[in-house]
């Protein structure tokens, strides 16, 4: 069964004023348990609005959001439980840090869940380990850490709630390449350990191509497509048309195809391209 589902989800900002704007327009999709989903779309395409519906921060103007098959707005008083099941990490999450120590900040979410001290301690240590924060950092003030470390503290703060679905809005924005790779690597490791569903919003096609099982593309408030990574990048032309990039390697192979060398449309990582080319070369030698 789909863990997260939307049915004809629509959201309009400031209805009835000159600023009225439909940010999400009749979006229906199903996200299966354990998937790693990449979310792409232009600034203003509605992807941030969409993900804020998944944990009930925004209430749909019309349509439904189902978690485990149940409408999350069926009981308004239970909306907090939804937020513990669907963890949302905002853009630049380090700006939400406020506690005196890293430990306390990561423990904020679990504490709100009403867990006991021992359980909170276990979770803080486990997630700190998952995200690559060493033990001695836990007693430091989060404000003296580096940008990348702060970011990881903030992500750990949501992970520590052990949500069944973890949503990250551009977790690597504004970081240097080393910090970016580190965060993606730790998220991947967390995914392997917990097998939880993860959604990552990203503008970097290379990043998305490297981790996503499926890709969700938003364009002009509408769902453009939601499919397996191979199938989405196979539609490279359409994706370029709505103003988004495809991975560089996909573009290279598109150009090769135009010039008469067709290697198929499923090339989107450098590793895969390398293996493919080596195989083709070998075949030629045999002949």
């Amino acid at each position: 069964m789909a863990i997260l589902e939307t049915q004809e989800l629509t959201y309009t900002y400031s209805p009835g004023t000159p600023f009225e704007k439909t940010a999400v327009d009749h979006v229906s999709l199903k996200i299966e348990e354990g998937e790693m989903v990449g979310v792409m779309g232009h600034t203003g395409s509605g992807k941030s609005t969409l993900i804020q519906h998944f944990n009930g921060l925004l209430k749909p103007t019309s349509g439904k959001v189902l978690l485990d098959g149940k409408d999350i707005w069926a009981d308004k008083d239970k909306i907090r439980d939804v937020r513990f099941k669907v963890g949302l990490v905002f853009q630049y999450p380090e700006y939400q840090i406020f506690e005196e120590t890293v430990y306390k900040d990561i423990a904020f979410g679990p504490k709100n869940m009403g867990l006991d001290e021992a359980e909170i301690k276990r979770r803080v240590h486990e997630t700190a380990n998952d995200i690559g924060l060493s033990e001695e950092l836990l007693e430091r003030s989060p404000f003296e850490l580096s940008g990348g470390q702060k970011r990881r503290v903030a992500i750990a703060g949501v992970m520590a709630m052990e949500p069944k679905v973890l949503i990250l809005d551009e977790p690597t924005a504004g970081l240097d390449p080393a910090g970016r790779d580190k965060i993606l690597e730790h998220i991947k490791r967390y995914h392997e350990r917990t097998k939880n569903t993860i959604l990552i919003v990203s503008h970097s096609m290379e990043d998305i191509a490297s981790f996503a099982d499926k890709i969700l593309v938003m364009s002009k408030a509408k769902l453009f497509c939601y499919d397996e990574t191979v199938k989405v990048f196979a539609r490279a032309d359409e994706i370029s048309e709505i103003g988004l990039d495809v991975p560089q390697i996909t573009r290279v192979f598109g150009e090769l195809r135009r010039r008469g060398l067709d290697f198929g449309k499923e090339v989107y990582t450098v590793g895969y391209a390398r293996d493919l080319l080596l195989r083709k070369l070998k075949e030629r030698e045999v002949r």
Binding site: T17, F84, Y95, Q96, F143, G157, M161
Partner: protein, 267 residues
């Protein structure tokens, strides 16, 4: 919740009201306030209401926005009404029950005060709705410029005001974002008992202050980089020029004010 705050919100447009010289608009608004408070009877208030509605219609801003501007002050209005209702001892007693005494004078005053305040809010919202904060502070600077003679830091004051106004929406947006982020971590902000809500306020205020200081720092650096050094010898991109319509508007306002004063004396 926070998105409902409309103080200082500007609605771009090109109506007559939008085009008025901001200096005249400020003076007109001051005269308008005098008008509302100089008339002591309903007839004066009716004249004030006609003036307000006329100006609102001319501005072409939906009436809904003005209703919205009054909404946050609803509780304040209610308190004003109730206090006037119960504590006015003059006039004929309409109802007397234990220590509660309601007089016709009390009913009259509370209704009168509520209408007066609503008009006041609507009228002054019209000023901020139709004038961008930047031009508004420009105008204030110009209106206060005579004070420079007595070494009053007019330009600095205007600059501080425009920066403060400029950052209200930014800070509201920021607060909204931080609130969402903490709510996503299960903080009870709109719900829960008073103590948990108060405690959770810290989780919003600390990041908000940190970001405000960061922004202030960045802004100071950016101003420094552009060699900003105060008002001495500074010229402006937009010169304020008055047009005939400004004098007409001022004239109309003065007439209304005179009318209200006369009506207040006659009846």
């Amino acid at each position: 919740m926070l998105r409902d705050i409309t103080i200082g919100q500007y609605f771009p447009g090109d109506s007559v009201i939008h085009k008025l010289d901001p200096r005249f608009k400020i003076v007109i608004t001051i005269l308008y306030i005098v008008m509302l408070f100089s008339g002591g009877n309903y007839l004066c208030l009716a004249v004030g209401a006609v003036f307000t509605i006329g100006a609102i219609l001319l501005s072409k801003i939906p009436l809904k926005m003005f209703v919205k501007s009054v909404k946050p002050l609803f509780i304040f209005l209610m308190i004003t009404a109730v206090i006037n209702l119960f504590f006015m001892s003059r006039g004929n007693v309409l109802l007397h029950w234990k220590f509660i005494k309601i007089t016709d004078e009390g009913v009259h005053t509370s209704v009168f005060m509520v209408i007066r305040i609503v008009l006041l809010i609507m009228g002054s919202s019209l000023l901020t709705y139709t004038t961008s904060p930047i031009t508004l502070t420009d105008a204030i600077e110009r209106l206060l410029s005579p004070l420079r003679k007595i070494k009053f830091p007019v330009h600095e004051l205007a600059m501080m005001m425009s920066i403060a106004l400029r950052f209200i929406p930014t800070l509201i947006e920021e607060t909204d974002k931080i609130m969402s982020a903490q709510k996503a971590r299960g903080a009870e902000i709109d719900t829960g008992s008073f103590t948990t809500r108060a405690k959770n306020l810290i989780s919003i205020l600390v990041p908000l202050f940190i970001s405000a200081f960061r922004r202030a720092d960045e802004l100071a650096t950016a101003m420094e980089c552009r060699c900003y050094h105060g008002g001495e010898g500074r010229t402006r991109l937009r010169q304020l020029k008055s047009a005939p319509r400004d004098y007409i508007a001022l004239g109309v306002t003065v007439l209304f004010l005179a009318g209200v004063i006369v009506l207040g004396r006659l009846f």
